[in-house]
Every structure is written in C-alpha cells, then in structure tokens.
C-alpha cells in the first residue's frame, strides 16, 4: 500500500515538473536587434533639405580639435579608461542602444503612448475632467495619448531627429574626424564598423532631440527620459565610437533642432483642438444643418465633447489647405448604398468568423496601446533593421512617415467633424460590436487613413515591400468594419484619402536630395 502511495505521489510530481519546464515563452520588450553594418553611408546627406531647418549648415557647429592634438589624445585616453572599467550594466546598455538608437527612442515614444493612452473616466457626479497640461499630474494625468496626440508626438520627434542628422552629416563630412576605434587600435568598437566620421555624434543628436521633444509631450516622464538620455550618451562613449567632444557637438545640434520643433508645436493649433462644449455643439449643429445628420456619443454618462474636434485645423506638414484633400460626402442615410452597408454590418456581426475576429483585434490598437500610428512605427522599425538603414536613412523614413501620418490624421479629423457622420451603433438598433466605438464621428476611418498614409511612405522607401504594406493597410482599414465600428465606405474612402494625402509628403521626400 505504501509503495503504491509513493508511486502515485511520484507520478504527480513528475507531471508538475513537465508542465513547468514546457511553459516558458519569449516575451520581448523591444525589437531584438543589435548594432549592424549599414548598407549605405550617404556621404552627401548633409546637403539634403531638412524639414524645418533651412539647411544642414544652418546650425553652427565649431570645428573640432584635430585628432593628433593633445586635447584629442586626452579624450581618447578618457574613452579607453572608461571602457576598461565598464560594469555589466554598462555593457548591457551599450548592447541595447546599438549604433542606431533612433529606433530605441521610437520604441520609448511608443511605450509612453501606450502608457498614457487612457481615456479619462467619468467623475462620481457624471461629469468628465480632461487632462490639463498646466496640471499634468491630474487626475487625469496629462496627456491622454490618443491617436491624434500620438501621431503628432511621433512626427515632431522624428522631424527633429531627421533635421538633426542632416546637420550632423553636414559637419561629419565637413570636418571628417574619424572614430576613436579607427584612430586607436587599442579601442575595440562595440558594433560593426561603418566608416562614418564621428564628429558630431549622430547618437548624441538623437538622444538629446528625442529626450527634449518627448519631455515636452510627456511632462510627467521628464526624469525617466533624462535617465534614458544619460544612459544613451554614456553608451556612445563606451562603445568606442565617440569621444566626449563628438558627443557635446551632437548635443548642440539636438538642442537646436528640438527647440525649432517645439516652437512649431507650440503654435500648430493643437492646443485648441479639444474644444469647449459650445464650440463642439456649434460644429455639430452646422453639420446637421448641412446634411441632416449628426454623430452622437452614446456612452453613459454621455461625453459632452468628442475627441479633438479641431484637430482638423492643426497646421499640416506638406499641405497648405486641408479642405483641398477633403473626401467626397458619405452616403445619405436613406440611400441604397447606406442601407446595403447596414445589412453588411449586420451580416458581419451575425456571422463573426475567426478570421474577421483576428483581423479586428490585430489592428485594433485601441485604448492602452501604442495606437495605429504607433503600430506603423513598429512596422517601420522592423523594416529599417531588416534593410540595415543607417541612422540618417532611418530618421528620414520615420520623419516622412510620421509627417504623412499626421497630415492624414488632420485631414481625417477635418472630414470627421465636417461630415459628423453617425457610427453603426447609433444607426442600427441593438447593434453590438467586438471593438470599442471611439468618441468621434465615423467618416472617415482614422485607422484607414493613418494606415494608408504610413504604407505609402513605406512603399516609397522600401519598394520591395510595397505590395505587402499596402495589403496590411487595406486589412487595417477593413478591420474596423469587421469590428462593427465603421461603415465600409469609411474604410474605403479613408484608404484613398490616406494615400492621396501621403503623396504630398512623398513628393517632398523625392525632392529633398536623397533620391538623386
């Protein structure tokens, strides 16, 4: 009897061990890439046309000490000393930041977007309090990083990075001071070598510009962002790629481009985008008088104002007049086209397939996530690494993509509040959805417009990926119809709209000197 007892207990224990051992999964916290060899150097990158600066030479950067000067030799000695005494944490940081840290800063931005993408809930008395930049702690904390906020933060950061690297490239090839590991055989570079001059440090430009833009966008994260910048800068030196004066020169550029970017941001109209109720009501009334319909928020308690009614008035990057790209009107509510769409949505809801559910969820990018603009930045980051772009090409890709995304969002919001078209849950009785219906009008679909714009820029940068990214954008668009929160024409017209808007930024990219 005792024997059997032992056998049974042994069996149970063995079972437990097997279960334990088989369950570990890899759950990455960031893109698993390391420093790599760039496919191109873009020696003439300093001649490219920046987005906000006049030229690559418009920010003054002093000539560095020559590499055979005593001052430089002292700096080299400092690098060697620091590298000889690296802690395991410092070694880990060097590996993490890589020789293309713009991607890491993009990921930091995505993480902060996900952290702050929380819609304020109602107070006990049924009112809503909005985040207030004058009192960022809240509650609710500032900001609410919804898709318009997110795309704007990403655009300003990416543009500052790109302008900063054009400037850095200008001086790198003007002054041509090589990297420490190339000047001193005793220094071993942490990454694959790339033969790009080190003065000024491109990594320092990225760290400083990104930290300053993100701190303005996420003021409660100032301390965290400063820690990230400090770690990034320290890793530049410890990589063997830069001496301190390379880094200091990069910081000068980072300070200048972020100041330019933030000056534009302060007056781009975003601060008026979230309107008072009276303005919101008059926008709604105007649409009702024009078209005979208006979107209603159906939450309990009702939200008095939709999300950023005047985001459509924010200054665009590449288009002078948002109305010039406003899409055609949506169908009348008594038209056959509309009635057919009601039937389509009912059919999709009634016959929810595994495939539709998967697509709706994969592209949902809703509250608490990095939003659709964030999703496309993640896709861009992966493609940048796959194609081994250098830092200048990386920021060019991210800058144009995020400019196009932000322009497309502005155009989308212009359509949303001009047409003020109702959502499916408002028009179809007892309609239920698998996705959350957002707090703004239906036409056109933000996901569709953002995704179409992003995919067009990626198709331009990575022609071999064009069919794939355009297909993804179409899937992201239709995902909202499968989710039950958009009409099919919201998605189809929105896709066309995003493609059209992106073309303005792509035309600008084609003329910036990089394609020559």
């Amino acid at each position: 009897m005792n024997k059997m007892r032992n056998k049974i207990l042994t069996l149970i224990s063995a079972f437990a061990l097997v279960i334990f051992a088989s369950c570990e999964k890899d759950t990455p916290r960031y893109l698993p890439y390391e420093g790599y060899s760039f496919t191109e150097l873009n020696e003439n990158g300093g001649d490219w046309t920046p987005v906000l600066e006049d030229s690559g030479a418009s920010i003054a950067v002093d000539e560095p000490d020559a590499s055979d000067s005593q001052a430089y030799q002292d700096e080299l000695a400092e690098v060697k000393e620091a590298m000889a005494n690296m802690t395991p944490e410092q070694k880990k940081a060097v590996k993490y930041w890589t020789n293309n840290p713009a991607i890491r800063w993009n990921e930091i931005a995505l993480e902060l977007i996900a952290k702050y993408n929380l819609i304020p809930g109602p107070n006990d008395d049924g009112t809503y309090t909005l985040p207030n930049p004058a009192n960022p702690e809240g509650p609710p904390a500032f900001p609410f990083a919804h898709p318009p906020y997110a795309c704007r933060a990403l655009a300003y950061m990416s543009v500052a990075q790109f302008d900063g690297l054009i400037t850095a490239w200008h001086y790198k090839y003007e002054y041509n001071r090589a990297a420490p590991y190339q000047l001193d055989d005793a220094i071993e570079y942490a990454y694959e070598g790339n033969n790009i001059p080190s003065y000024p440090s491109d990594g320092a430009v990225i760290a400083r510009a990104s930290r300053k833009i993100l701190t303005a966008m996420f003021p409660l994260e100032a301390e965290y962002l400063q820690e990230m910048e400090d770690e990034n800068l320290e890793s530049l030196l410890l990589s063997g790629g830069y001496v301190m004066s390379d880094i200091d020169a990069g910081l000068v550029i980072g300070d200048a481009v972020s100041a330019t970017g933030l000056a534009r941001a302060a007056n781009d109209g975003m601060k008026n985008a979230q309107t008072p109720k009276a303005v919101s009501d008059s926008i709604k009334q105007a649409a009702y008088e024009r078209f005979g319909w208006a979107w209603d928020n159906l939450e309990i308690p009702v939200r008095p104002v939709g999300l950023t009614p005047l985001f459509g008035k924010v200054t665009m990057w590449s288009i002078a007049d948002v109305e010039s790209v406003r899409p055609i009107p949506p169908p009348q509510l008594d038209s056959q086209e509309f009635l057919d769409d009601v039937q389509l949505l009912k059919d999709y809801a009634r016959n929810m397939t595994d495939e539709h559910r998967r697509i709706a969820n994969f592209w949902q990018d809703g509250l608490g996530t990095y939003t659709p603009p964030g999703h496309w930045n993640r896709i861009a980051n992966e493609m940048i690494v796959k194609h081994k772009l250098n830092p200048l090409q990386t920021t060019r890709t991210l800058a144009y993509m995020n400019m196009a995304i932000m322009d497309s969002g502005i155009s989308c919001w212009d359509a949303k509040y001009y047409y003020h078209y109702p959502r499916p849950i408002q028009m179809i009785e007892n309609f239920e959805t698998i996705a959350g219906t957002p707090n703004f009008p239906s036409y056109t679909s933000g996901h569709s417009v953002f995704s179409a714009a992003a995919s067009e820029v990626l198709a331009y940068i990575f022609p071999d990926e064009a069919a794939k990214v355009r297909g993804w954008a179409e899937e992201a668009a239709i995902s909202r119809v499968y989710g039950g929160i958009h009409w099919s024409f919201d998605a189809f017209v929105g896709t066309d709209q995003g493609r059209e808007v992106a073309q303005y930024t792509i035309d600008r990219a084609k003329a910036d000197g990089a394609d020559n």
Binding site: L9, I19, F20, C23, K25, P28, R29, L110, P122, I434
Partner: protein, 336 residues
C-alpha cells in the same frame, strides 16, 4: 476586469454505506475564476468515492457583478453596466481505487452586459476549458472523537475552444493551461461536524492574444501574455444532518496571484493582471433516500474583497447521480 465564478457542488456522501453508493465525493469546490478559470475544475473537498463508482454532475450557475476592483479601488463602470455570466457545467467523477478518484469537466460559459450600457460590446459564449484531476487520499485515521483525513489533488485544465481571453470582461476564461496541486486536511467529528482546510498552488501558462503588442508596465512585443500563478487558501465548516442525507457548508476561499499588473484607470482588464479575491459562500446538498444515487445541490457565493477582480455574486443549482458501473448488483446485494 476579470471576473470569477465559483461553484461548489458535491455528489452525495455516504461513505459508510456501500450500497446506495451515493457518491460521496466529488466535485468539491469547483470554482471558476472567469478570467482565471483555472481552479475551475479542481475537486477540492475531503471526500473520496469508492472504486468502480461513477458520479455525474450537471449544474447551472448564474453570476453577475456591477462593480469591480481596479487595482484596489472598487468602482462601477456604465460602459459594461452589470455583467452577467452563466455557466452550464457537466462533470464526471470516477472511482479508480477507493483512495484514488479521477475527474473530468467541461463548462460552457456565456457572458453579456445588461441593458442599457455605454459600450455596446457583444458578449461571448462557448466551451471553456476541459479539466482533468486526480485526487489521492494517502491518510485516513480515527483520531479522538472523529476521523482525520489528508488528501492531495493534482489538476490540469486547458482551453478547448478558441475563445479570446483578451476580451475582458466578457472573455469566458483565462485562455491558458493550468496545473494545480492542492493539499487538503479534514477532521470530521462523529456527530457529523467537520472542518476542512486546503492550500493550493496554481501554475498558469501563457495565453495567446490576437494582437502582438500590449502594455504591462512597459511594452511587450508579442501576442503571448503570461497569466500569473496563484496561491489559494480555503476553510470550510460543515455538518451532516438527517442520517447523512443533508449537508450544509459555510466556506471561505482566497485566491492570490503571485505576480501581475493592475488594471489601469478606466481601462479594460487583461489576462496579465494580478488578481486577488476573498470569497464567502454557503451550500446545501441533499441526497434522496427514495432514489438511490440521486442528489441535488444549491449554493451561493460572493466575493467580499479583491484586487483586479469583479465583485461577483453567484448562485447555482446542480443535480448529481452516482452509480456503480461494474458490480452494481453485487454491491447492492452486499449491502443487504
């Protein structure tokens, strides 16, 4: 938000009478923590069913909540209003040896919000997790004025349909495999009173979302979500009445995740949350004298404190039937 559902059933317990073979066993506290269904099918009582006996259970459970703990803050949310969860639970227990029983269960769950609600989300329904468990009793001795028993249960459950666990609060389960190991000690006085205590550890695996990025105090670039492990404690006070035909129990149950994040402000719960709750309950079970092997059970539980958990109350009814599969005739003759 996550929600739980509990469940407490027993087959009849007539251990001393071979013949009526009433199951005495089983289904103990099956409790289902909805987003963390795991315990769901873990038999955790102090009873054993004799060899060659089978007990089947069929029960219906109705749970609902209109408030939940967001982190440690109890709140309501008109986006979801009152969430109802109904469950149909078929289960079978098989006596392999007198001291070794096997269980299998397969709940069907449906969820939905009451009307009106501000979110207009559709509910979910489907078969949840198939559960298997073995219970072994290595020790049972007369001690003082009663009898002391020690039992150990090992359980395993895993999703049987492709329900989406990342759809809170409507998801019908945690979507992850679970292995549980439970130790149970019981003392029953000769007058029918008994006390029981159990301690369990639940090892939960990963659940796969349909998105490949989520936030859990930082970014995760994967569809896999780590469902936290948990420790449970429970205490039971019960008594048999009317010649072992009626059993009444009061219960306390506590579940504590060993890791996980908090639900963020006015945001949906997710499978990675650190769920904790304390629940109290009452159950009554009656075994018919007139129909051999037949029993009925009714219970009510409510969660009284929690973290990232719904303030769920649930009520259920079940019917149990125990029979001897192989030697029914013989056993009945023996009994006479």
């Amino acid at each position: 938000m996550t929600f739980q559902k509990l469940f407490r059933h027993r087959c009849p317990r007539h251990e001393n009478k071979v013949a009526p073979t009433l199951c005495f066993l089983v289904l103990g506290l099956t409790y289902l923590v909805l987003p963390n269904s795991l315990l769901a099918q873990t038999p955790s009582d102090g009873l054993m069913m004799p060899s060659k006996n089978v007990c089947v259970l069929f029960s219906y459970d109705m749970g609902s909540f209109d408030r939940y703990w967001e982190g440690t803050k109890l709140r309501s949310n008109e986006t979801i209003a009152t969430v109802d969860q109904n469950m149909i639970m078929p289960m079978a227990a098989i006596g392999i040896l007198d001291n070794l029983n096997f269980y299998v269960s397969l709940p069907y769950v449906s969820t939905e919000s009451s009307e009106p609600n501000g979110g207009k989300f559709t509910g979910a329904r489907g078969f949840q997790d198939i559960g298997f468990a073995v219970k072994y009793r290595p020790f049972r001795e007369e001690v003082g004025n009663g009898r002391l028993s020690a039992l150990v249960t090992a359980g395993f459950s895993t999703p049987i349909s492709n329900y989406l666990s990342d759809y809170r609060p409507y998801s019908i389960g945690s979507g992850a495999p679970e292995f549980s190991l439970r130790g149970i000690g019981q003392y029953q006085w000769n007058n029918g009173f008994y006390i029981r205590a159990a301690l369990a550890h639940l090892w939960r695996g990963y659940t796969e979302a349909e998105r490949d990025y989520y936030y859990n105090n930082g970014s995760y670039y994967t569809a896999w979500m780590d469902v936290p492990n948990a420790v449970t404690y429970e205490g039971i006070l019960g008594k048999w009445f009317f010649d072992n035909s009626l059993k009444l129990e009061l219960s306390y149950f506590s579940l504590n995740s060993t890791s996980g994040d908090d639900i963020r402000a006015y945001n949906a719960a997710q499978p990675t949350n650190k769920v904790e709750f304390d629940r109290v309950g009452f159950s009554a079970q009656y075994f018919f004298k007139s129909i051999k092997g037949l029993g009925v059970v009714a219970y009510h539980n409510r969660i009284v404190d929690g973290r990232n958990a719904p303030k769920m109350s649930n009520t259920g009814f079940g019917i149990t039937y125990q029979f001897n599969v192989i030697k029914k005739q013989t056993d009945e003759q023996d009994a006479q």
